[in-house]
Each structure stands twice: as structure tokens, then as C-alpha cells.
Amino acid sequence: MVSIAGPETEDAAVVEFAPLPSKTALAWRDLVEGFRRNWMWSALALQDIKLRYRGSVLGPFWLTITTLVTVFSMGFIYSHLFHTATISYMPYLGMGLIVWQLISSSITEGCNTFLASLELIQQVPVPFSIHAYRVVCRNFIVFGHNLVLVPVGVIVFQLPVDWHLLEAAAGCVVLAVNGLWVAIFLGIISTRFRDIAPIVASFLQVAFFLTPVFWPIDALGIYQPLAEYNPLFTAIDVIRAPVLGVPIMPHSWSVLLLSTAIGCAATCYLFVRYRNRIAYWI
């Protein structure tokens, strides 16, 4: 008998296929491999900053100056509005604004994690997490420029320098973890639903006034718990209070860590499930 099967059908039977890795394994590999290429995302983040401030003399220090001007002008007016001493209000406002800028840029830029890297994602196979690490790194570079004001404040307002600052440093690490899940979580859903970014932007505007960034929390009186359990406030509190040398609110760490855990869990679910769809949605 003459075989009628072509060579291709024979080939197909011969090939051995390795077992396919699970979606969870692929997502985990993406995160680890992305982190391993830290030289790549840090260089990209630095390049972003350079491009953003190309041709400007002071570069990102313009933001530092903006913060400085805001703290002085707002600090003077609002300390009178709130009937508090300018000398104690200014550092409170300053630290509040610096941390808030980190939070708000993490959230707004988190919506663009993948959309901003559209061209790269469609042409070069790199782990998706690299884009998220890049956003976090970029925001912390800007945050670092603002932190230059802290030693100035410490000298001018004679703030205590002690081991409590380590608690603030721990707070920064927790904020970096939060920045990462926010960048992945919002990055994925705003790639799929393009309405998310504007919604988030208007939410942030409201949140700025509802969170004790520039107003003292005890001004709320009996409603103070409302603010105490606000995750955005706890994120500010764990960094601001140690720098000012005042105790952190009793629930701040627990609320912050709980929201971090919930955020990470939700992001894991989303990333495992939809990671391979990101390239399709873009």
C-alpha cells in the first residue's frame, strides 16, 4: 500500500510537547524576571525623568521648588485659618504634601503603566512587570527630589532626629509595595476600560480634600475615626508622624498593612488571570 499521509501529518505525531506552565507560574515568573532586570527599569525610569525635564535647568527640582512655595504660602494662610501655630503647621503641611504627591502620582501614572508603553509591548517581548517597576521607580525618583526639603525642615523647625526615622523608612518601603500593585492593578483595568483613568483622576481630586493632608486630623472632633481609617491618611501618617516626632495614630500601621494585603491579593488574581491579555487589549 502507498501511504497517502503527507510528511506534515507524520511530523505532527512525532513532536513531544513539554507540559505547559500554569498561568500562576507564568505570572510569578514575569514578576521575578521583571525584578531581576532592575538595571533596565531603573534606566528607563531615569530616561523618563530626563525626557520630561529636557532643556530645563533645574529638572525635577522644579517640583521641589513648587512644594517649597506651596508650603510657605499655604502654610502661612492655613495656619491662621485653622488657628494653629505656623511653626508647627508648616512641617505638617510640607510632609503631607510630599507624601501625597507620591501617592497621587503613583495612582494617576498607574493607570498608564501599560498604555504608555504600548509601542514597546507590541514590539519587544519583555516581562509585563517591568513597566510597573518602571512607574514605581520613576515616582520614587521624583519623591527623592522632594525629600531634599526634609533636612531643611529639620534644621529650620528643629525637628527631632532619632531612630523613629527608621519607621518612616519602613513606611516608604510599604508605599513602594503599594505603588507596585497599584501600577499593575490600575494598569490592567485601564488598558481594558479606557474610562478608568479620568474616573481615577477626579476621585483623587476629591480624595485630596477628604484626606487630612493639609488639615489637622483632630479638627474633625467626633468624626476623627472617619479619617483615621482612611488608607490614604495612614500612608501619609506612617511617614509624616515619625519625621515630625509625634506618635503615629494607633490604627495607621494595621489599616495600611491590611489595605496593602488586600490590594496585593486582588492584583495577583488580576495579573494571573489577564496578564496574557494585556498585549491584545492595547
Binding site: E8, D11, A12, V15, F17, A18, L20, R37, W39, M40, A43, L44, Q47, L51, R54, E119, L120, I121, Q122, Q123, V124, P125, V126, R192, N276, A279, Y280, W281
Partner: protein
Amino acid sequence: MAFARLRDVSVEFPIYSGGSRSLKKLLLHTTTKGNIGRDARDRISVQALSDINLDIEHGERLALIGANGAGKSTLLKVLAGIYEPTGGRIYASGRVSALLTASVGLNYEATGRENIITRGMYMDIHPREMRDHVDEISDFTDLGYYIDMPVRTYSSGMVIRLCFAVATAFEPEVLLMDEWLGAGDAAFLVKARRRMEQFVTGSSIIVLASHTLSLLREWCTRAILLQQGRIVAVGTVDEVASRYEAQYGALDTSQPEIAAA
């Protein structure tokens, strides 16, 4: 050893922006060669590839032939690992270097030298290591002093030379190229071909998608013809090309002949 084996690979794109009925009708009646249909949840989707079965073994130079929208670029992106297929399985090994769009990731304000470093990063090569290769790469590009000029001053041919030089500097095991290579001038094509022959002997895979059939005839050992996301013919480049030409007319005649090898 590099290889890529595809079994029943399908790629289906959801189209979220084209939901309205009128647009749907419009899409269904256009002359695009792709398959547009609806998925289970009544969303519009484009079937870019369906049931692709393909084995590419080491040392092979494969040509992808097909009309616009036949799925050539999508297949390259699947091979590059950019799209994880929505159906079927892919089993591949080898360090991939993909040249899909010439301009990708190029920073037009930065110099050629700086861009070499950046593109190296995308290929997972540390800037420190890349710096040792910059001179060797810029030699290959023949860009001369242009290498220290911003890329925005380059001609499109110069951009291609730069990108090709970086992509092939590290002897990729799998080199994927889309269309644009033909934009290089004759001297460059000869040089590029010599370099590719060098590493094909080192058992690498090259997959080239192009409409320039003369280029494919010269560079490739095997060809597949794609039509509406399906493989409709496999064979030598001559066989497949003549079938393609018979189907669509000799579209190739307008293309300039490249320098005789």
C-alpha cells in the same frame, strides 16, 4: 538548539471600540482579507490566525508570504512571544531577536550610540556589556560620525541599518523580521545577507515576512503562504511564490531588484 513548533495555534483579537451595529456591518463588508466575526459573548473579534501547524527547525530560513491582513505580522509576534496564542500550543526554544518595526523604542532625540545601549536593554543585555560592543556595532552600520548625532537627523535607511546591526550583533538564535528590511539600499542588503549567512551556519532560525518576493527567493529556504490567517501552502520559495503570484497577479514586478549576489 533553536526550534519553534506550533500546534493548532489561533489568535483572536477582541475589538472593543467597534461595538455599534452599523460599524459591525461596515466591517463585515469591507474588502479586508481578515476574518471578522463574533465571539461567544457577542463581541466583535478578528480571527488573525487559525489552526496554524508549523515546525521550524534549526538552520531554517522561512519566508512568510501573503496579502495584507493575511496574518504574517501576527504570526511573527506569536513567534516572538508578544502574543500568547488564544488557542493551541507553542513550543519553542532559542534566544529571539525580533525586528518588527524599525523605529520601535528609538529615542529620536538621543544619539545613535545612546540608542544602541537602549535597544540592547530591550534585548536583556546590560548597558555595561553593551558598551563593549558599541564600536563594533557602529562599524557595521557605516554611519560614520552620524553615530554621535541625534537619530532624528537619520534617513530611514540609516535607521534600518542601526536597528539591524543591534539586532544581529549577538548572533540571535531566532531572528524575526517584518517587511521593512527591503528599505535598505543595495550595498546594505548585501552586507546584511552576509551577516545572516554567518549565523545561519551556527544553526539559527530566520523568519522573514515580505512582499518583495525576489528578496525572499534569495534569502529563504522554505516558504509558507498565509491566507486569512491560515496556512494554505508550504514548499520551496519558488513554489509558494508562484502560487501567490498566480492568485494575486505579479505584484512583485514594481519592486526594485536587489544587487546580484
